[in-house]
Each structure stands twice: as structure tokens, then as C-alpha cells.
Amino acid sequence: MMNPTIELTGLEVQLGGRTILHGLTGVLKSRAIGLLGPNGAGKSTLINTLLGFHSPSKGSARVLGLDSFTNGKALRSLVGYMPENDAFISKMSGVRFVRYMAEISGLPPAQAMERAHEAFVYVGLGEARYRPVGTYSLGMKQLAKFAQAIAHGPKVLILDEPTNGMDPPARKRLIELIREIREASDICLLLSSHLLRDVEETCDEVLILRNGQIASVCNLVEERRANRKFLELETIGAEATFTSTLEGLGCECAVFTNGRIKVVMPDSVEIREVFRVAADIGVQIRRMNHRRDSLEDIFLNAMEQTGAADGRI
């Protein structure tokens, strides 16, 4: 049986005398996990704990079945990490910097050199690879950090705010790369970002933190699947006949004023059936929306929840 990607058991982390993470408990099984939360929610602390940089004061955190503290070295041999802040050696050329990091991960020098060149070209910095990293723009530094995170072929990729400081085309390119890597290999992804869109485009499951506690967990795959079956219609014509016919097909309908209808379709019914019924009855469908409970809604709902969460999923 495959180990869950992340397993938290009453994880409590104290830093500088303050409790940052309050007994987080839960299992995240998806291959691509997004980490969301406002500033100070504990996202970076959770990532640092998973990397073994902080020791839990209570409980434990496991990644792919390996305890982040007691099996830290074994776990880190699987990880590629892209930190949020500046992390580079300014006088080194980009390709030498990535080669250096790959060698520390255990790649022999020749293979490290080869992978460093490949990683640099892959992230789109091929032309700049011989320049010192200190001369790179902010976006290029982000890409260099990304290159060093993937060069040694990790099994778990941990990205902390990967698109910080990038212009829209560069951001789009990086998100495409992340998706491509996710699809081309069996790599597990943990992505922390303030940009909900980044998480939405790359992740299958989202863990939302608030004040060091788990505010919500959302499986985006299931959410997307459910949303595909939820329609909002604006119609003109015989609404009552239309809704009763749809209900006859197994749909659930709610009728509002001005011809607005909300329809929840069963899996067996396709959208073309709705159009066919409307055509048969002579109802005009003036507008049709898939209801999209976006990640933003989920995030805002999680943030608006009152009362202390108990830290459990």
C-alpha cells in the first residue's frame, strides 16, 4: 500500500517560546498538495518542519512514510526544495551553482554537470547559465532556484511561493513547468503560495491554514468533478414544464425569479440533454453557467469560519 504524501499526527511546533502550529492532525494523499493561508498562518513553519529544520514539540510529521525529524536525512534525500527567500551563491555562475547543489544531493560530478545544463535549459535560462547568479533579475533567480530544486530528480518537490516576483508570462511558464513535471513523473508536489490561481492550476488537494491550525482541506479534483454537474440557467419560456421534464431525467431543480433555475445533474445526464429538453419544450436558454465554487470561495469561507478550529481535518 502506498504511503500518504503527508501525514500529520498532533503536530505542534514551538518557536521562540511561541506555539506556531497547534496540534495539526490529518492525512493528505494527493500527489499535488497546495498550502494556503494568510501571512503568519504557519505555512512556512510547516514546510520547515517537514524538511526537518524545526523539531516538533509534540506529535510528528511524515512525508511518504518517513518521519521528518527521526528520518530527516532519508527524507531530505527525496526532496527538492525551492525556498521563498533569496537562496543562491551570488558569485557562482548559474550552471555551476545548480551543479554544486546536485553534487551535494549525491550526483556524481559528470552527471551533475549534465543535469545542471539540462535543468537550466528546461527552465528557460539556457542563455544566462554562465552568468553569475548575483546578476540575475528577481524572476531569473526564482527560475535558478527552481532549477536547483529539480536537477537531482527529487521524488518530492517542495515549492515555497515559487512565482514571487515573476512577471505574468514568466509566472505562466513556471506554472506550466510545474504541471509538466507533475504529469511527466511520479513526483509529489507541495506548493505554498499566496496566489490562489497558482495552487488551483497545479494542485489536486489544498490544505488551508489559519493561526497555526487547519482551517480547511479541499480536494480540488472532487470539487471540480462536482462543479461540472451544477448548472445555473437563465431561461425564457415554460419554466415549470422545463424543470419538471429535467426532474424526470433525475435532475434536482430550484426555480428563482426572472427565469433563473439552478440544476444539479446526476452523473448519467449530460449537458446536451438539457439543451434537447429546452428545444423540445421551446424554452430559450439565454445564459448557462457551470457553478464554480472557486478556490477563492473555499479560501474565503475557511477564513470566515468563526470559532477555534480543533486542528483536525
Binding site: G16, F53, A87, G106, L107, I181, D186
Partner: protein
């Protein structure tokens, strides 16, 4: 992930043994060092005295050379323990200067732009990191202290007659041990300073200060308290004391202090304490993430 394919492929090749990875740091640091012309000049200069010492040993053991140079006094050339003390004193000072140039940049370069989390997010511990950096100074300073000193010892052993080697073999131990403690102390002090101070010039200044200020304070302590124990804060003197005891040399080297005035164990303890203090500083500074208390 071949360059022309522009596609990501996981790495499936072999890996180097974990124990050997600290040496990657050493290798890269040496590659960077040898790019700097100043360093190469400094290294060559620090090895120049060895040529003179070797020439001296050659002449001391070659009657023909002595005759050709019209040197008649047989006692003028003597290669005994005092001679090796002189070699050690000169070479350890050269090691100090090399250390002042190389040491300050070793860790500061990684800390300036926050590269430390990148090292520590790999199967690489803080101990590996310190070991890798320590090996740079260890190898470099060894190359100018005990290694050439042992080569000179071998040269003398090869040229001398009358079983010189057997009567002087004990000197191998002080050559290695005294160099080792000096190298260890210098390396750890400069790594600790490098982890603390990011600017090379300031860090070099701090290394000098860490030798001279405590010595001055020790002298003040001696004057105020009418004691001689303040000398324990003079690390160079402590090294000289260990050197003198190691080479069984009673004359000159200890200045105004008597042979048994400060026990050699106290000198060892002071130098080891300095090493431990440097390790404490390194332990405090080399963190993947800093924790702000409050």
C-alpha cells in the same frame, strides 16, 4: 531531460556515498581559491621558507658544499630540535596569514544570500557542512605546516648519518600534534568569524583582534592582579608553550616565563576551549532557519 528535448526526466543514475559528500564543498572552495591570483602568490610565498630550510639541511649535511662556501665552523650547522622549532614557528605564522585570507570568505559567501537552507534541505547535515569547510583550511594549512616539516625531517633523516633518525624520531609527534592543534584552532576561529561577519575585510580584522585583544587583556590582568595566569589569554604564547614542551626546548622560546611556571596542560586546555567556543558560535549561526525569540 536532455537539453535538446526540453523535457523533465527523473534521475535514475548512481549516487555518491553519503560520507563523501562533505568533500564537494572542499573541492568547490579550492576551485574558487585557485582562481584568485593573490591566493596563489600567498601560498607560494608561504612555501618559500621551506626552500631555504631545505637548503640549510643540505649544506649542513654536505661537507663539500661547506668547503665550497668556505664555511669552516662545524657547529654552525646543526639540525636539532631548535631548528625544527624555528621551522614550525615560521610556517605556523605563514599558516596564520593564509588562514586570515581564506577563512573569512568560506561561510560568509553562503550566508550572505541565504544559501544555507539549500545545503541543509539535502541529505547533508550541519556537521557535514562544517566538516567540508574545515577540510579546506585543514588541507591548506597542513600543506604549509606539518607536511613540509615532515618532508624536511625526512630530508635530514636521509642525509644525516650516525642513526640521526632513530635518536630524533620522537620529533614526529610534536611536529604533527602541535601543527594539528594550531590548524584546528585557526580553522575553527576563522569559520566562526566567517559565520558571524559577512564582510571579508572586517572578518580578517576580527581574526587578528581575536588573537591580540585577549593577549592585551591578559597582560592587564597580570598587572592588576600581580599574577602571571593572564598569559593564558595569549593564544600564540600558549602555542609556543606547547611547542617548547613538545620539542623539549628550554631556552628562549618562553620569554620571561619559567619552564614550569604555566603547566602545558593549561595551554592545551585553553586552545581546546577556544576550539569549543568556536564550535558553539558555529552551532548558533549555522541554522537553516533563524528563530526570533519573543
Amino acid at each position: 531531460m536532455a537539453v535538446y528535448k526540453r523535457r523533465y526526466n527523473p534521475y535514475t543514475g548512481s549516487l555518491t556515498p553519503e560520507w563523501s559528500r562533505f568533500f564537494v564543498l572542499t573541492r568547490y572552495a579550492f576551485a574558487d581559491l585557485f582562481k584568485a591570483r593573490f591566493f596563489v602568490v600567498l601560498l607560494v610565498l608561504s612555501l618559500v621558507p621551506i626552500l631555504f630550510f631545505a637548503s640549510y639541511i643540505f649544506i649542513a649535511n654536505n661537507k663539500t658544499a661547506q668547503l665550497l662556501m668556505q664555511l669552516r665552523s662545524a657547529g654552525l650547522f646543526s639540525v636539532e630540535n631548535q631548528y625544527f622549532i624555528v621551522i614550525m614557528m615560521v610556517q605556523t605564522q605563514a599558516a596564520f596569514l593564509l588562514n586570515c585570507w581564506v577563512g573569512p570568505a568560506l561561510i560568509a559567501g553562503d550566508l550572505t544570500n541565504g544559501a544555507l537552507p539549500l545545503f541543509l534541505s539535502r541529505p547533508f547535515t550541519r556537521a557535514d557542512y562544517v566538516l567540508g569547510k574545515l577540510a579546506v583550511l585543514g588541507l591548506l594549512l597542513s600543506a604549509v605546516t606539518w607536511v613540509p616539516c615532515l618532508l624536511l625531517f625526512s630530508l635530514q633523516a636521509g642525509l644525516a648519518t650516525d642513526g640521526w633518525i632513530w635518536s630524533h624520531l620522537w620529533m614526529v609527534v610534536p611536529i604533527v600534534l602541535c601543527s594539528a592543534i594550531w590548524i584546528l584552532m585557526l580553522s575553527l576561529i576563522s569559520l566562526a568569524v566567517s559565520a558571524w561577519v559577512k564582510l571579508r575585510i572586517v572578518a580578517t580584522g576580527v581574526i587578528f583582534i581575536s588573537f591580540f585583544i585577549p593577549a592585551g587583556l591578559g597582560e592587564m590582568f597580570n598587572a592588576i592582579m600581580s599574577t602571571r595566569w593572564g598569559i593564558l589569554l595569549n593564544f600564540s604564547y600558549m602555542f609556543r608553550l606547547i611547542l617548547a614542551k613538545g620539542f623539549r626546548e628550554r631556552s628562549g622560546l618562553l620569554g620571561s616565563f619559567g619552564w614550569d611556571e604555566i603547566p602545558v596542560a593549561a595551554a592545551w586546555a585553553v586552545l581546546i576551549l577556544v576550539c569549543l567556543l568556536s564550535l558553539v558560535i558555529l552551532n548558533a549561526r549555522l541554522r537553516a532557519r533563524e528563530t526570533v525569540r519573543g
